[in-house]
C-alpha cells in the first residue's frame, strides 16, 4: 500500500463529499468524515502494531515485510470497531486484539450502536491475506474495563466490568459482569447459550475492582480441575466458576468476607496469589489474599461442597498474622514444602506461612523489599545450587537507594532462614523488573539515569547509563532492549548478547516503539518507532541490525490516511 497514493485519494473523496454535502445537506454523511483521524491508542501485537482510530471507528493494523523486501510497510488492514473505544488490549500471545467500546450511549435512534467487544485474530495475517474478519460481541450496557484471560496461548474468556472508572450513565449496576466465551461465536440473549452473558454477582456492599483468572484448580478431588474467576471488591472476595459460567441456570458464586461483620471496620483486598503448581493436586488448590491495612493474610483452601450446594467446591478461609501489612506475596516451594511467602516491609522481613497449619517462619531481609518475583526457571538451569523442587525469588523495590535487589533461595529458608538471601548491590532502588523472554536475564528499571541487566545464571548485574529518563521496551524474542526518550528523537538498541548499545535517530518524536515479527517472514523482525502526532507516522528499522546499510530505516507518515472500512 502506498501512502503517498492513499492521502490524495482520501482527501479528494472527502472534498468531493463535502462539496456534495454542502449541496444536498449534511444529514446523510457518515460522521467520521467530519473528524480528523487521530490515534487513540496503540497496541503491540506479535506481528504488527494496532493503531486505534476511535474517531473513524476503526483500528489500523500495520506490519512490515521481511528483510528481503527491505522492511517495507506491508499492506495495512483497516478493521471496523465499535464506537467510543474505552479499552484496547492484546492477548498474552500477542495474536489477538480486544477492543471494548461503549457504543452510542444512551442510544437515541435505531442507528446508534450498542456497546460491544471486537476481537481481531491476527494469527493468519499475511501480506496478501484478505481483510481480517473480526468477531463482534454485542453488549446491552456500556462498561469501561476489560479483563482478559491470561492463561493458554489463546484466551478463553474476557470479562467487562465497571471497576473504579467514573460513572458516565445515570444509573449503573457496578456488580454486573459481562462474561465473554472467546472460544464460541457471539450469540444473542434469545439463544439457548447466549454469549456473552450478563451476571450480577452477589454484593454485601462492595463492587468489583479487580479480576483474576486462575489456572485449573482441583477444588474438589472427585471432579476435574476447575478454573475460577476471583473478583476482588472493596470488602470481600468472590469466587466464580469460569468453567460453569455459561451453564443454564447460572451457577451462583461464592463470597468470602474479610471481616466478621461485628464492627463497622472493613478490609480491602490489595492483591491475591494463586497456588496452582499442580492442577492434579488438591493440595495445590489455594488462593491467598492480602489487604491494604491488615496484618493477616487470608488463605483460601477448597473442599467438597455442602449437600445441596450449586458449586463443586466449598472454600474455607484461614487467617495468619504475619506481623505487618504485607506488600507482596506468592506461593513458593521451600525445603520444608509449600509456603506462602509474604513480604513485610515494616519488619524488613519475609514471612513464610505453612498454609495447612498457619505456622510462620520469619526470614530477616537485608532491606525492606516491597516486591518479589519468582525466578526459579531463570536460575535453575544454570545450576546455581538450587535444590530440585524449591524456588528462588528476586526481591526488589527496597526502601533505600542501596537496597538493590536480593536473591532469596527458598531451598534453605525454613531450615536456615539467616542464610538464604544474597544481595546484589545496585546504586539505585529498583522500581520495576522486566522479563526477558527466552533467557536468564531480567531488566531492572529505576527512577534514576540508569537501568540494569541482571543475569540470574551468573548473578551479575550490568548497569547501563542514560542521559535522562528513558522508556524501555524488551523485544519479544528476548534479543534486545529498546530505549528511547519519550517525545524525543533518540533511540538505542541494546543487544542482550553483548550489551552493546546502537545509537539511532528518528526524524520525528517517538511516542512508542514496537519490536514485531515481519509478515510472511517471522524470522525477521522490524521495529516501529511511532510518532502519534497528526495522522501518525513511523520509522521502521531492521530490528536485528538497525544500521545495516542494505536495509536502511524507512520513514512513513500519514498511516491513518488509509481508507476507512
Amino acid at each position: 500500500v502506498s501512502h503517498s497514493r492513499q492521502l490524495p485519494a482520501r482527501v479528494l473523496l472527502a472534498s468531493a463529499l463535502a462539496a456534495l454535502g454542502s449541496t444536498l445537506g449534511c444529514s446523510s454523511r457518515p460522521s467520521f468524515w467530519n473528524t480528523a483521524p487521530t490515534a487513540t491508542s496503540t497496541v503491540a501485537l506479535r506481528n504488527g502494531v494496532a493503531i486505534v482510530d476511535d474517531a473513524d471507528h476503526r483500528v489500523l493494523l500495520v506490519g512490515a515485510l521481511g528483510a528481503a523486501q527491505g522492511f517495507a510497510l506491508a499492506p495495512s488492514q483497516s478493521i471496523a470497531i465499535g464506537h467510543h473505544v474505552v479499552s484496547a488490549q492484546a492477548s498474552p500471545d500477542g495474536f489477538h486484539l480486544f477492543v471494548l467500546s461503549t457504543g452510542d450511549w444512551p442510544p437515541q435512534s435505531t442507528t446508534d450502536e450498542l456497546p460491544s467487544l471486537t476481537v481481531i485474530d491476527t494469527t493468519n495475517w499475511a501480506p496478501n491475506s484478505p481483510p481480517l474478519t473480526p468477531a463482534l460481541y454485542p453488549m446491552t450496557q456500556p462498561l469501561p474495563n476489560l479483563a482478559i484471560d491470561p492463561q493458554g496461548t489463546s484466551p478463553s474468556y474476557a470479562v467487562a466490568f465497571q471497576g473504579s472508572a467514573a460513572q458516565n450513565v445515570l444509573v449503573e449496576n457496578a456488580n454486573e459482569l459481562v462474561i465473554f466465551d472467546l472460544t464460541s461465536p457471539p450469540a444473542d440473549p434469545t439463544q439457548t447459550r447466549p454469549n456473552p452473558i450478563v451476571h450480577t454477582i452477589q454484593s454485601f456492599g462492595g463492587t468489583p475492582q479487580a479480576l483474576t483468572f486462575t489456572p485449573p484448580l482441583l477444588v474438589n478431588p472427585i471432579d476435574p480441575a476447575e478454573r475460577l474467576l476471583v473478583v476482588e471488591t472493596q470488602i470481600d472476595v468472590t469466587l466464580f466458576s469460569l468453567d460453569h459460567a455459561f451453564d443454564q441456570p447460572l451457577r451462583p458464586e461464592v463470597t468470602v468476607p474479610l471481616t466478621a461483620g461485628t464492627s463497622t471496620s472493613s478490609l480491602t483486598p490489595a492483591g491475591i496469589a494463586v497456588d496452582a503448581f499442580d492442577p492434579a493436586s488438591a493440595a495445590d488448590a489455594r488462593i491467598a489474599v492480602r489487604t491494604t491495612s491488615d496484618t493477616n493474610v487470608f488463605t483460601i483452601a477448597f473442599g467438597p461442597p455442602d449437600p445441596g450446594a450449586a458449586n463443586d467446591f466449598k472454600p474455607t478461609v484461614n487467617l495468619t498474622d504475619v506481623g505487618g501489612v504485607p506488600s507482596d506475596m506468592a506461593f513458593v516451594h521451600t525445603d520444608a514444602g509449600l509456603r506462602l511467602a509474604a513480604l513485610v516491609p515494616t519488619k524488613s522481613a519475609a514471612v513464610l506461612v505453612e498454609p495447612d497449619t498457619s505456622l510462620t517462619t520469619n526470614v530477616m531481609l537485608p532491606s525492606s523489599y516491597s516486591n518479589l518475583s519468582l525466578v526459579t526457571a531463570q536460575v535453575a538451569p544454570a545450576g546455581n545450587a538450587v535444590a530440585p523442587g524449591v524456588d528462588v525469588a528476586l526481591l526488589w523495590n527496597g526502601s533505600s537507594q542501596q537496597s538493590g535487589v536480593a536473591l532469596w533461595t527458598l531451598g534453605n529458608s525454613v531450615g536456615q532462614p539467616y542464610f538464604s538471601t544474597q544481595v546484589l548491590n545496585i546504586a539505585q532502588a529498583v522500581q520495576r523488573v522486566d522479563d526477558v523472554p527466552n533467557s536468564n536475564l531480567k531488566v531492572l528499571e529505576s527512577n534514576g539515569n540508569q537501568f540494569f541487566v541482571l543475569n540470574l545464571a551468573t548473578t551479575t548485574v550490568f548497569p547501563l547509563d542514560t542521559s535522562g529518563q528513558v522508556a524501555l521496551s524488551i523485544a519479544p524474542d528476548g534479543s534486545r532492549i529498546w530505549a528511547f526518550a519519550k517525545d524525543g528523537e533518540d533511540l538505542a538498541s541494546i543487544a542482550l548478547a553483548d550489551l552493546n548499545p546502537t545509537q539511532l535517530l528518528t526524524d520525528a518524536p517517538i511516542d512508542a516503539v514496537f519490536d514485531v515479527a515481519c509478515l510472511g517472514d517471522p524470522a525477521s523482525r522490524a521495529l516501529f518507532a511511532l510518532d502519534l502526532q497528526g495522522s501518525v507516522g513511523a520509522t521502521v528499522f531492521n530490528a536485528e541490525n538497525p544500521r545495516d546499510p542494505q536495509t536502511p530505516p524507512r520513514r512513513v507518515s500519514g498511516l491513518l490516511l488509509e481508507e476507512t472500512p
Binding site: E253, G261, A309, A310, P315, L338, D356
Partner: protein, 329 residues
C-alpha cells in the same frame, strides 16, 4: 465429640498437682456434713475439702477427708453413713468404673485398700489390703476394665509406676520410668497409659511424657518436650492420644500424637498456645483449640504419620461461617 477432651479425660487438678497426692477427683455433693468425727487410730484433725467418689448408679458415695484415717460410706438413698477405719491416713480415693469397689491409697504404709461396694457399707471389715513393698504410692487410678490399678505418687520425685492386679492374686509389678510422674492417663482399652513427667528443665528439654504399656511388659517410650505438657486427650478405642505442650515465654507450642501399640510419637508444631485438646473419634481426627485472636483449631489426622497433610489448621471461624453461596439479588 466424645469425652476425650482433656478436662473430661482426666487432666483434672489432681493429676497435675505434684505436691499433694490426695487432691480431689471431683465431686458433686457436699459430703462434709456427713463426715463423722475422726476415729482414734492415728487420725489428726480433719482438714481441706472432702474427696468424694460416687458410684455411677448414684447409690453410694465414698468420702475421704485429709487428716482422717477412715473412709466414710454414705448410702445416698437414706443418708446412712458407715465409717471404715483404715490403718493409716488415705492419700487418695477412687472408684472403679462400674462402681462395684473403691480404692484407697495409704501412702505412709504403701498400702492399697479395696472397698467392695455395697458390702463395705454393711460390714466395714470387708476391706482388702495389699502392701506394695519398697514403693512410695499416693495415688491410684483404676483402669477401664477394672482389672488393674495404677499406683504412683506425685508428691515425691519417684519415677515408678506400679500396676496392681485387682483379681484375687493381687499381684503387682513396678515399671521403672525415666522421670518423676506428674499425671497418669490409662487408655480406654486398659493396655497402655500416657504418663506426664515432672522434670527439671535443662538443655532445652522443658517437659516429657511416656507411652507406657501396662498390659504387657514392653518398655515405655519417653518423649522429651521443648515445652511443658498442658493437656492430654485419649481416643475411645485406646489406640491414640494427643498431648499438648505450651511455653509462652519462648513461644513454643505444639502437640504430640501418641500411637499405640506402636508407642510412636508424632510431633506437630502449633502457631499459637493450645488451650484444649480432644478427639473426634467418628472423624478419626484429633483437635487442638488454640488461644488466637481470630480463633484457631488444628485438626490432626489420627492415622497420619506426620508430614504434609497430617495436620490442618483453621482460623477465623466467623469468617468461615459467613462464606455465602448466592447470586443475583
Amino acid at each position: 465429640v466424645d469425652n476425650g477432651d482433656a478436662s473430661a479425660a482426666g487432666v483434672d487438678a489432681a493429676d497435675v498437682d505434684a505436691g499433694d497426692d490426695g487432691a480431689s477427683d471431683g465431686g458433686v455433693i457436699d459430703a462434709a456434713s456427713a463426715i463423722p468425727a475422726a476415729p482414734d487410730s492415728g487420725s489428726t484433725a480433719p482438714s481441706g475439702s472432702p474427696d468424694v467418689s460416687i458410684t455411677p448408679d448414684g447409690s453410694y458415695a465414698l468420702v475421704r477427708q485429709d487428716g482422717v484415717a477412715a473412709i466414710t460410706v454414705i448410702a445416698l438413698a437414706d443418708g446412712t453413713t458407715t465409717t471404715v477405719p483404715l490403718p493409716a491416713l488415705p492419700t487418695d480415693l477412687t472408684m472403679s468404673p462400674s462402681g462395684d469397689f473403691g480404692v484407697a491409697v495409704l501412702r505412709d504404709t504403701s498400702t492399697v485398700v479395696i472397698l467392695p461396694i455395697p458390702g463395705i457399707a454393711a460390714d466395714p471389715t470387708l476391706l482388702r489390703t495389699t502392701t506394695i513393698s519398697g514403693e512410695i504410692i499416693g495415688r491410684a487410678i483404676v483402669t477401664a476394665d477394672a482389672k488393674s490399678a495404677l499406683l504412683f505418687t506425685t508428691a515425691a520425685p519417684v519415677a515408678h509406676l506400679t500396676v496392681l492386679s485387682l483379681d484375687a492374686t493381687a499381684s503387682y509389678r513396678t515399671i521403672v520410668l525415666h522421670a518423676p510422674l506428674l499425671a497418669v492417663f490409662p487408655t480406654a482399652d486398659s493396655a497402655n497409659a500416657i504418663v506426664l513427667h515432672n522434670i527439671t528443665p535443662s538443655n532445652g528439654v522443658e517437659g516429657a511424657f511416656s507411652i507406657v504399656p501396662i498390659a504387657s511388659t514392653l518398655p515405655a517410650n519417653i518423649v522429651s518436650l521443648p515445652a511443658p505438657p498442658t493437656a492430654v486427650a485419649l481416643a475411645p478405642l485406646g489406640d491414640r492420644a494427643l498431648v499438648a505442650m505450651s511455653d509462652p515465654t519462648t513461644g513454643t507450642y505444639g502437640a504430640y500424637l501418641a500411637k499405640m501399640p506402636s508407642l510412636q510419637a508424632v510431633p506437630y508444631v502449633l502457631a499459637s498456645p493450645p488451650i484444649a485438646v480432644g478427639i473426634v473419634s467418628g472423624a478419626s481426627d484429633g483437635y487442638i483449640a488454640q488461644d488466637y485472636s481470630e480463633g484457631r483449631i488444628t485438626f490432626v489426622d489420627l492415622q497420619s504419620d506426620g508430614g504434609a497433610g497430617g495436620a490442618r489448621t483453621i482460623s477465623g471461624f466467623e469468617l468461615g461461617a459467613r462464606i455465602i453461596e448466592g447470586s443475583n439479588p
